[in-house]
């Protein structure tokens, strides 16, 4: 693994990603709760959850450096925590875990592959800690069959948004 050497440009880009998504995340809670009430938990998670994993692949696609996915996700979560919202500091805890899992995808590609597949995989992997933390915090433990549907929905959402992050990263850069 190459030793990560971050310049001020990288930190500024991470800051820009953090603020853009920190701002989007805060009202996204309302969208999630609204959809959950109207459509139920599985469609709501499928439609909304992936956006919370978006900064990790986006930061990695733009910066192409080790730990960029982790830092992108964590910083966006930190900024979200500092904006008044119902999630408070859980955002930071979720962000740390999701960032670490997203990073696995890029580490598996030895930080040489930042393509569409790895980005989608990175988004999908971020779904795992998200479901686990939901189970601990919100007691979202359902019968096994239903739980499998939820994991599939969250990972599919992550993969879709991960792919979108790749496309957006290409456009931005």
């Amino acid at each position: 693994m190459r030793r990560p050497s971050y310049t001020a440009i990288d930190y500024a880009v991470l800051g820009a990603i953090a603020v853009a998504f920190g701002i989007m995340f805060a009202p996204w809670w309302t969208v999630y709760y609204g959809l959950k009430s109207a459509l139920g938990p599985i469609p709501a998670k499928l439609i909304t959850y992936g956006l919370w994993f978006f900064p990790a692949p986006l930061a990695a696609v733009i910066l192409k450096k080790p730990l960029s996915a982790f830092m992108g996700e964590t910083l966006a979560a930190l900024v979200e925590s500092l904006i008044p919202n119902a999630g408070g500091f859980t955002n930071l805890i979720y962000g740390l875990a999701q960032g670490a899992f997203s990073e696995i995808a890029f580490a598996a590609g030895r930080y040489k592959r930042f393509g569409a597949f790895i980005s989608a995989l990175s988004g999908a992997l971020a779904g795992i800690p998200s479901v686990l933390l939901d189970a601990v915090l919100y007691s979202s433990i359902y019968p096994l069959g239903y739980m499998i549907y939820i994991i599939i929905a969250v990972m599919a959402s992550g993969a879709i948004y991960g792919y979108l992050a790749y496309l957006v990263g290409k456009v931005v850069k």
């Binding site: 500092l82 919202n85 119902a86 805890i93 007691s139």
Partner: protein, 224 residues
């Protein structure tokens, strides 16, 4: 001198950050309604005292989530001794306790976060992260830069909305395509801005910047 002090608050931003993070982590594991309630009340009152309108909608959102939490408890945790019946449906004790625990957990998390953001300004928090909690300077810079960008992004958003209105399009995005007409220019502008800010920072020796050390004698002289 006032500018030398991190903050004139009773609880420094670093301590406040640890307090908020610890209580949030505790909310994950605690299962006692009384303890959770005892954690909610002071933070709720303090956040309203310091934040008022800034944090009021956090509590509205928490209340909105309550019916969903209750339905979840009703479908998946409705067992134990019979408590009452609603619309002919029996409600068992475990449904009530599950609902209360999850709702109070969310209330603890929301109220602690609301107190933290209403008590400190973003710049106090950033200074606290770097100087008290010894976060790497790059991370502190990213967070500070993110907060500096907020009004600029808001201004850019307003300009895009104005252009869309003038062209006869909807002001608020409803479809994915409309969303992209906002997201793409905002991200591109932010990226360009971040890139050139980074270049300027590097030219000013960002990488060589060390921790600022002030001797106690200098500190005393400044504070006179």
């Amino acid at each position: 001198m006032r500018w030398l002090a991190l903050s004139d608050k009773m609880l420094s931003p670093g301590a406040g950050f640890i307090y908020a993070l610890s209580l949030t982590a505790l909310a994950f594991i605690l299962r006692s309604e009384i303890v959770l309630l005892a954690m909610v009340i002071p933070n709720f009152l303090l956040s309203l005292y310091y934040g008022r309108k800034k944090v009021a909608w956090v509590y509205v959102l928490i209340l909105i989530s309550a019916p969903g939490i209750f339905l979840n408890a009703l479908f998946f945790s409705n067992y134990g001794t019979l408590y009452t019946t609603i619309l002919g449906r029996p409600i068992y004790s475990n449904c009530i306790s599950s609902f209360l625990i999850v709702f109070l957990r969310i209330a603890v998390i929301g109220s602690v976060g609301a107190f933290f953001v209403s008590y400190y300004t973003p710049m106090e928090i950033v200074k606290g992260l770097e100087k008290e909690l010894h976060f790497p300077k790059g991370i502190a810079f990213s967070v500070a830069y993110a907060f500096r960008l907020m009004p600029l992004i808001s201004k850019d958003f307003g300009e895009i909305r104005k252009v869309r209105k003038q062209r006869g399009y909807r002001a608020f995005p409803l479809t994915a395509g409309e969303f992209m007409t906002y997201a793409a220019p905002l991200l591109r502008i932010s990226y360009e801005r971040a890139f050139w800010t980074g270049v300027a920072m590097e030219l000013r020796g960002f990488r060589l910047r060390g921790k600022r050390r002030i001797s106690s004698r200098e500190q005393a002289r400044f504070e006179k």
